[in-house]
Amino acid sequence: MIKNMKKVSLVAMRSDLDRLAKDLIWLSCVEVEKCEAPEGDAIIRSMDCGERITELNTEAATLSEALKILSPMRRDKKGFIKTRKEMSKKEFDGRAVSAATEGAGKAVALKAEAERLKGEKNKLTAYLSSVSVWKDYDLPLGFEGTKSAVVITGTLPVSADIGRLSGIASEELSAVQIEIVAEGKSTRYISAVCHNSVEKQLTALLSEAGFIKSNFPSQTGTAREEMAKTEAEIRSVENREEEIKDALSALALLCPDMEHAYDRVKTELAEENVKQKLIGTGHTVIMTGWVPDDRVDKLTKTLSKYECFCDIADPEEGDESPVELKNNGFASPFEFVIGMYSYPKYGSFDPTFWVALFFALIFGMMFADLGYGLLLVLIGALGTKLMKPKGGTAKMMKLFVICGISCMICGVLFGGYFGDLPAKLAQSFAGSHKLDNLAIVCNPLDEPITFLLISLGIGAAHLICGMIINMVMCFKRGDWQSAVFDVGSWLMMFAGAGVYFGFKSKVGLIILGVGLLMMITMRGRAKKNIFARLFSGIAGLYDIINYASDLLSYSRIFALALAGAVIASVVNTFATLVNNPVVTVILVIVVGTFGHLMNLALSALGAFVHTCRLQYVEFFGKFYEDGGRHFEPASPDLTYTDVYVEQNN
């Protein structure tokens, strides 16, 4: 059912605004609309909370960054199941946040410093290794020579013949000395001393041989001095890094506080966002929004505490009311499936119950297995118990439970117990074939045609259900002609065909004939020309192709059931391949667990998406009016905490 929505218009005192926004947030039943101030109006203006919003956004970003930085150092959270901390509203509001925000700022700053130090350390290490090759060189590295002598240091490739070079140098240039300081893998580190009159010739000679000059700054000391200095610097950087690490792990103790602070900031942000949507004068504020019918009392009760004027009215034509669905405990998890497609238009039909019914049935058929069903139920139940999820995830978990139960029932009907595990075990241990077929109705592998026909039968029921919904919707709109002639005629033809083939009764042919006549004569009722009208009616028969292809689409139920059963059977075959009871037990446990879990994941996913498709394409195609906007009330934005509101006010 789609909940009725009421339009709320509210004029309140500006001085109450902060308290009012907080109350509305925690009431979580009003969707606030963005009000536009009349252009050029001197008195009524849009509220501007941009500054505070920016501030809060920065704060939230710092907190989430700090939580990310500190998460590896936390010792209070174990395991990968995230639970939310429960606290009362009083505690949530009362707990101090300043220490946490300060700590978060510190953590972010420390992390930034650590990053900088890391870069510095890399640079120092690189420098150290570049200097350490010169450790046997006694002159300061930056020493460039005396008044009349020049010292050049640098590298030469190993291939350069140094003996030949120094020969040429001493012959042609005189007063040159070339020395090898160190040997690298592909280069030699050399120093050359010469008189400054021949410096140019020497560099030219050396560059020809592939010489690259080292460029140490002129005040650089000897290699040994530089090494000692750099090592000391690295040590001090490392010490500082250790300090930061300790400081961060000390800050990690604040994480629970930071999580609380994050939720507080985010909730305040939600409040500010509500305010941002309002317009106001100097002393009053004006708000418009939506509230579901059944929450109006709660809202008026809260508002009665304030001096304000509140008008609650039905939506007018042209209003885009948001859509909130309301269903019973069985169907409501399937609102998730509807939400994945699109919410129904406000005022149209909410098919959740029928979706739920057929979803569970089709999913169960596609995945007909007692064992897998049981596992799904367990996953859903444990997930709900351990994670205490809210919103979409909570619905998903319930969906697992309902679909799992359906799988279990179908598993008994169609003989799936982890595939054919009982049969394989009986064959392997006792050599008996007694357990080969446990199905009550039929086994998809042994009687594929029966199973296929059952699948198509469910498909027919699903499609006809969709058509009947369409008919009802047409009647409600007052469009009885479409209901009777466009949908009803097809239903009559199907019914007629069913009676004729099912009971071999001529009555069926009569019903079919009447339906056909209705279709041919009335489908083109909008057309004046009698021939155009008849032609349009006959052309309408072409729709039978659509119905046939829709129906055929349900053969996927059989296909997925088959694929799942075959994979399960493969696992069981491998597990019982060896003719030795002990090995078989081990294999069944090891191979069986691994294989069946894999099959569970793949087949459940396949069953899920294909059931969704049958709903979206085949079922919704018959009647659904999509495009509804989901009702999103302003509410506290809680990520890490689970706040319950005390009932004393």
Binding site: M340, L452, S555, A559, V617
Partner: protein
């Protein structure tokens, strides 16, 4: 059969059972290659999205596994053929005609599986880019990708039904 000359070698090679097994091999090979390519394509695309926002892993994973089903269908058909030949328990003597027929029945899923996996992957890759921008619309992307799978399912049915029903 004693192998004495080339003709008898060929006759032994193309025995009924071997022809059936050849079909099984083709079903696994082609639908497997298609699925591997397909899943790979979608996985590559989603890696780009995950680099930006790792929290979208769940949504991209759903799209990633979609083109993987064709490989499973091919495998299922192959397994049905292997069961038919009985080589896992007591080998069945298949006539060359029966074997060839069973082997040929693997072709629909082999060929359609290969192409539909890749085509489906392309839809899924497009879906990944939608998920990157509007994660709430992933349901629609999945449904679009599933539309392509219809034809692999039809091929699976036409491959599997005759193999299940054919009496040898």
């Amino acid at each position: 059969m004693e192998i004495t000359n080339f003709a008898s070698f060929l006759a032994a090679l193309f025995s009924g059972r071997n022809l059936a097994l050849l079909g099984a091999a083709l079903a696994v090979i082609f639908s497997g290659i298609g699925s591997a390519k397909g899943v790979g394509m979608v996985a590559e695309a989603s890696a780009g999205v995950l680099a930006e926002d790792p929290s979208k892993f769940g949504r991209t994973l759903l799209l990633q596994v979609l083109p993987g089903t064709q490989g499973i269908y091919g495998f299922a058909v192959a397994f049905l053929i292997v069961l038919k030949t009985g080589i896992l328990s007591t080998p069945v003597e298949l006539s060359r005609f029966d074997g060839a027929l069973i082997g040929l029945m693997a072709l629909p899923i082999a060929v359609v599986g290969y192409f539909s996996a890749i085509k489906q992957a392309r839809v899924a890759v497009a879906g990944i880019s939608v998920v990157a921008k509007r994660p709430e619309e992933s349901g629609k992307c999945i449904t679009s990708a599933v539309l392509v799978e219809m034809y692999a399912i039809l091929a699976l049915l036409i491959s599997a039904l005759p193999i299940l029903l054919y009496k040898v």
